[in-house]
Structure formats: structure tokens, C-alpha cells
Symmetry: C2
Subunit: 420 residues, 2 copies
């Protein structure tokens, strides 16, 4: 069988399984989720052994420490996975949920029913836990899914998929609902991206270049975010103690996440009061500062910075680097974010309710925040239960995407013989 034939066979199987996935009762889906979690516990040794093979091969291939860390399935990661599945059991089933009921003057009763999208193509790198998270979310939302993990994690993914397969079988659900691409041939991704007759939505998770390549290559809808150039704006009317702790948290709690602050904007009026301490503390954490000329002039003794170039304002560092710019006020901050931002997550620190409202309304990002850290932009933190990804696109789903974003709504019309 060629790679093309293999991938098409997965597509045909997935498409055929959509009816079963859509029809599966909440109880059946929950039983399967629990069975998968149990299988992961039962086979944890096998999974860890498979993961060791991946790690050994990856280390030999010279993968960097951060990538190896993402690849590693520690005891904690396994336990997070099973807990994640068990939390999905408790989430309300979106499929079949009715909303927006109206009765028309002619007696027609119209409402919307939430339904699965169909077949999801999930393409991701290194982290093998995505295999379980994505499988669980797609199953609970009534979709079929084709999982395509990175070649570096193929052994781990196979071992995890074995647990998924067992769980589906045990609960009597169609095993075609969740499938893993078992070849590491790179052509498999290209074929998946072409299968618009079988795949309704592609969700890529990974580096920007992977996601950009996927978006450029496919005509299937893609749920994605490319960049997380997140801003915190410290307004002239901010509580400065709060601004300090929010800025520190947004930058230093984790460096490689997409909701980490990359640019700090500060109102001129308070810059000299808040920036020196903040710059000092950031330098203490090892954060490199790239600052505008005016910022440099108020840093008051902090000398450990470089001057920012225009490219810095567009950059997602994913690293201990922060660009800082002083603004004339809210208007300039909004302009700056509109020009350089990536529509991901931006926050204002202010005690002025009017300015907060204006920022919330005018910043065109998937999450807009007042007086809190951009690091909260996350499905779990928002109470969605889990997230399959974050979308910075404006159509369909935006921001952290949970079960609801994996569904669609159709109109349901009930009559008693009405005609036009």
C-alpha cells in the first residue's frame, strides 16, 4: 500500500465512523474515556518503555534539551493525561444541546442543535500527551479524528494509541472514531492535507513554521494560531503594585508559552515610577530587555538593556527577552497593539473603568484582559475543561478552543404542516 492509499484508507474509515461518533450516547463516550484512562494506568510500563526508545533515538539525533523535555512522558505527565480524560467525563456533552428557541408567528418552532463537525485531522509535534488530549476531546465532542504526531514520538504515540484502541473496543464504540497515522513517512501529512472529501477541519499544534506550512498547503479549514505577541499596557491610572506583579508574572512564569507577554507598554506618566524596579527585577530573573529610547532614559541605574529595533515589536521571543515601550497614553497603546500585535492576548492594568472598557472593546484579540496576567489565556483557566488549541482567527472559534469549538450548530424546524 502506498502512503497515499494508506492515508485515504484512514480517511474512508474516519468518514464512515462519523455516524457512530455522532450517534454515541454520553454514557458510551464517558465509558470509553474512562476505559482509555484505565488502559493508560494498566500499560504505564509499556508506555514509558516506548517513550524511552523515542527519547534515546531523539537524543542520538541531537534533539535539544527543550524538545527532549517536551517529548518525555514522566509519571506526572501520565497522571495528568488520565486525570484529563476523567475530567472530560465530567464535562457536559455538547452534542445534541439545544439553544436559541423561537416560535414564529406561523407556529414554526425553530432552534439550534449542537452537532459534531465530522472528521478532525490533528497534526502535532513532540508532546505525546496531545495524542490523549486530542483523542478525548474529539471523542467527547462526537467527532472522528485522525492523529498525526511527530516522527520523534512515534513509539510513545503507538503505545498510547494501543490504550485508546482498547478503550474504544471495551466500550463497544467503533474503533474508526480515533485513528493514529502509524507511518512516520512525511508524505502522510501532505496526503492528509489534500483529503478534503474526508477531513472537515485540520488542527495543527506546534511551531509557527509547521503551522504556517500547513495553512499554506491545505484547502481544508484550519483552526490555528501562528503568533502570540502578547502585550501588557500599564496605564497612567494603574495600581502600580498590581502592575508590577502582573508584568512579572506575564513575562517570567513561563517563557515558551504563547500567552507569555512579549512587549510591555507603559504610559509616560507612570514610566519613571514603575519601570526602574520592574527592569531591575526582570534583569534579576535573567530577562534581556530591549527598550525604546525613552525607556532607556528612565531606567535609573539599570544598564543591562539593548535598544529595540522595529523588528522587536513584532517578535514572539518565546524566551527570556522582553521589549518595552513608553506610550503617550491609551490611544497610542491601542494603535501599537493594532499595528504590531498578533490578535492573541493583550491586557491593560488600570483603575479607570472607562479606559478598561475602551481597551476591551477596541483591542481586536482573542482574549482581552483587565488587571490580570496574559498567562491566564488558557482553556483550563477559562473553565472550558480542556483545550484542543488556541485560535487567533476570527471565524468559527476564537481564543482557547474546548469542546464547543469542536462542534457546529444546525437549525431544527418543527411544524404541524405549515406551508409557504
Amino acid at each position: 500500500m502506498t502512503v497515499k492509499e494508506y492515508m485515504r484508507s484512514l480517511g474512508i474509515t474516519a468518514k464512515a465512523a462519523t455516524a457512530a461518533a455522532c450517534r454515541a450516547s454520553t454514557a458510551e463516550k464517558n465509558t470509553a474515556l474512562q476505559a482509555i484512562a484505565n488502559a493508560i494506568r494498566t500499560h504505564s510500563d509499556t508506555i514509558v518503555a516506548a517513550n524511552s526508545k523515542d527519547l534515546k533515538r531523539a537524543a542520538a539525533a541531537g534533539l535539544d534539551a527543550a524538545s527532549l523535555d517536551r517529548l518525555a512522558l514522566k509519571e506526572q505527565t501520565l497522571s495528568d493525561m488520565t486525570c484529563g480524560l476523567e475530567q472530560m467525563v465530567d464535562l457536559p456533552d455538547p452534542v445534541g444541546q439545544m439553544s436559541d428557541p423561537v416560535v414564529r408567528p406561523n407556529g414554526l418552532r425553530i432552534s439550534k442543535m449542537r452537532v459534531p463537525i465530522g472528521v478532525i485531522g490533528m497534526i502535532y509535534e513532540s508532546r505525546p500527551n496531545v495524542t490523549i488530549d486530542a483523542a478525548g476531546l474529539c471523542l467527547k465532542s462526537g467527532n472522528a479524528v485522525i492523529l498525526r504526531g511527530g516522527s520523534e514520538s512515534i513509539e510513545s504515540n503507538r503505545a498510547l494509541y494501543q490504550c485508546i484502541y482498547e478503550g474504544l473496543q471495551e466500550s463497544g464504540l467503533d474503533t474508526g472514531i480515533i485513528q493514529l497515522v502509524e507511518t512516520i513517512d512525511r508524505q502522510a501529512v501532505g496526503e492528509l492535507l489534500k483529503m478534503s472529501e474526508y477531513v472537515d477541519l485540520i488542527i495543527p499544534r506546534g511551531g509557527k513554521s509547521l503551522i504556517q506550512r500547513i495553512s499554506d498547503e491545505t484547502r481544508i479549514a484550519v483552526l490555528k494560531h501562528l503568533d502570540g505577541v502578547c502585550h501588557v499596557f500599564i496605564d497612567a491610572e494603574a495600581d502600580l503594585a498590581s502592575a508590577y506583579s502582573i508584568a512579572m508574572n506575564a513575562k517570567t512564569q513561563r517563557y515558551a508559552t504563547c500567552n507569555t507577554m512579549e512587549t510591555l507598554l507603559v504610559d509616560r506618566e507612570v514610566a519613571a515610577r514603575v519601570l526602574p524596579d520592574l527592569a531591575h527585577a526582570l534583569c534579576g530573573e535573567g530577562v534581556e530587555l530591549r527598550v525604546c529610547k525613552e525607556t532607556a532614559s528612565v531606567l535609573n541605574g539599570v544598564t543591562d538593556y539593548v535598544e529595540a529595533t522595529d523588528a522587536d515589536w513584532r517578535e514572539e521571543y518565546n524566551a527570556p527577552i522582553l521589549s518595552i515601550k513608553i506610550c503617550a497614553g491609551l490611544e497610542e497603546a491601542i494603535q501599537h497593539i493594532g499595528k504590531y500585535g498578533s490578535n492573541h492576548t493583550d491586557a491593560i492594568v488600570t483603575e479607570n473603568a472607562g479606559k478598561a472598557d475602551r481597551f476591551l472593546r477596541e483591542i481586536d484579540s482573542s482574549s482581552v484582559m483587565v488587571n490580570t496576567s496574559t498567562r491566564f489565556a488558557d482553556g483550563f483557566e477559562y473553565g472550558l475543561g480542556a483545550e484542543i488549541g488556541i485560535s487567533t482567527d476570527k471565524l468559527h472559534a476564537r481564543g482557547p478552543v474546548g469542546l464547543e469549538g469542536l462542534t457546529s450548530q444546525k437549525f431544527i424546524v418543527r411544524g404541524e404542516g405549515q406551508i409557504r
Copy 2:
């Protein structure tokens, strides 16, 4: 200025106008809608004169009667347009609507705010009333729009756009919010489809080939439906009188609309009771019948039919033609619709609530109906106030698309200094 430069200038102007469109208050938008309606009334003679030029040119170019009819702006059409605009004044403003509020254990208050999409590219054929409907809907939903009507209606569209421009000016809104492509050069469409940096969503209205070409050519998101192969299934437990009138209405009330029934499915158990009368009445209306072998055997004296080929089950006739097939029951009907349908609108006629529910859940169409005519699949009929189109895609908006479908939602997070 080349066509490319011209189109890009429209794109730049539209993009620049999005902030004003998004910020415009409900009162400002309503004033503009009313001012446009008033301008249409004031300039009705000019509009009709411009339309006469289009009609004369089109007739000389040999346009068929149906197309000329769609092109014509009669007094009724003008009055429908102004009434449509005045109805939009009364519709609730979607922009800024808040929903799904939650308070997280850490005190963060999270909700969703409805916001405009940005810039809409509207591409349509003949009917000049789309110019006004689309302009009104985009304005009310806070979007900027670039309107590209057919070359055959350019004079009418220019005259109508003059009214739009006047209305925007009078109400003090940025005239860049609504722009008309004033050249009839075909290259303009190609350029519009390439302007992904300025245009967020393309909405094509027109024939299937136009829409298919547009979808194939652009990488911008497209809101569309290609086919309306709508079904009515008469179940064994249908009220046969009701089934008769629903089938007649779904086929004969209008032939060229996308929600017209194209295939009638009938349960074997009642076929001999319902089909002869129905076939007789349909023939009386001049409807050509294309039937399966079994249908032919129960038509009882009606001889005016041809045998259906496999191609008939996939065909959107848009004409007085109907294909008829007898099924073994609900299961076969669902299978048939799944195989041959276009995910637009399908109806079951049955008194059995369980079968109705199964049909509603399992038919994967944008509108699924029980005991009523497919002809009701329409934004006005659903109470959306107006529709910019019907979507048979599953992502973002599905079914008739009104103001809400022209918006997106972003997450709003309010804290009091929370950090992670």
C-alpha cells in the same frame, strides 16, 4: 491607476474604516440605515433610470428573461429595499453583546463579547438589491464591506451606492465603511480574492459555478452554499394530507430557490396511497417527474414521467423537475440523503416523534425539518431579520446567516491583580 492598485486602495480604505465601523454606536448605525433608506426614496427616479440603462444593455446582449427579471428594479423591489433597511434599524445590535459569563475560583470574571469580523468582500451577480441588503447588514454588524456586483447591473449599483454614500455622510460615519467596486473589469474580482491582508471574509452570491470558482481561487475564508439538493421524506407514519401539501409547496411554490425540494423520498408502505394523487397534481403544475422503477409501478395511471438515472439524485434542478424514490423506511431515507444530499435543507413528514428525532439528529444539513416545507429555510422566516446568505459549511455560521453570522466573539477577562 491599474485595477490592482485600485482594488488595493479599496482594501486599504476598508481596513482603515474597520475601527470606525466597530466603534460606531447603535444610534449612529441606525441613523445611517434610515438615511440610506430616505436617499433611495428621494432618488428613486434616478435609480430606475440607471436600472433601465442596465436592462437595455442586458437585453441587447441577449440576457435571458429570468436574468432580466432578476436585474429589474421595480417599484416593489425599491420598496422592499427601504423596508429591509428600516427593519434592520429595529434589529438588536450584535456588537458588544456579552454572553457566557463565568466567575472562576480565583475570582477572574470571564465572558464573551460579540465583535465585528472586519472587512467583508461581497461578490454577487445580477440582483442589484443585494447591494443594499449587504451594505445594511454589514453596517449594522459593525463590519466594513467592499461590494462587487455583476457588470450587468453596474449602473443600478452605482445609483444605489450614491444613496449609501449620502446616508453615511449625512450620519457622520466614515464613508470607507461601505465601498462599491466601480470598475466592471473582471480582474477586479481576482484582485479582491487575493487581498487576504485586507479582507477577512468573502461572501459570494450567485450561481454555483461563480461560487465554486471563487472558493477555488481564494485563500480567504468563504461563507457559501454551492448546492441545494433538498429532500422531503414521507414516512410510513405521515399524515398523508399534510405530506401532500408539504410536498406540493416544497416543489412548486418557487422553482429557482435553493430551498426548493429536488428529490421526494416516500416510504414503501404509503407510496401507493400518496404518490398517484401527488404525481397527478405535480404534472398538472407542469412539473417533470423523474422516478425510480418502483415509483413508476405505483403511479396508477400517471404516465407522464421518465426514469431517473443516478445523476438525478445529485441534481439541483432549479426548475419544474422532481426526482422521486421509494425507500424501505427511515434508515434508507437517511442513507440516501447522506449520500446524495448537499447538507442544505431536508424535511421528514411523520407523526412518529421518535423517528422525527432520529431524522433531526442524524441528517447532517444546515436546516433539518419536521412536518413543514423546506421553503421555510430562510433568514426572514427564521426571524433573523434578514440574511446575507445561506451557509452549508459547518464552520463558523451554518444555515441562513444574519447579523450574528457576520460577527465573532472574543474572550473578556476581568481581574483584580490575579497572577498565575
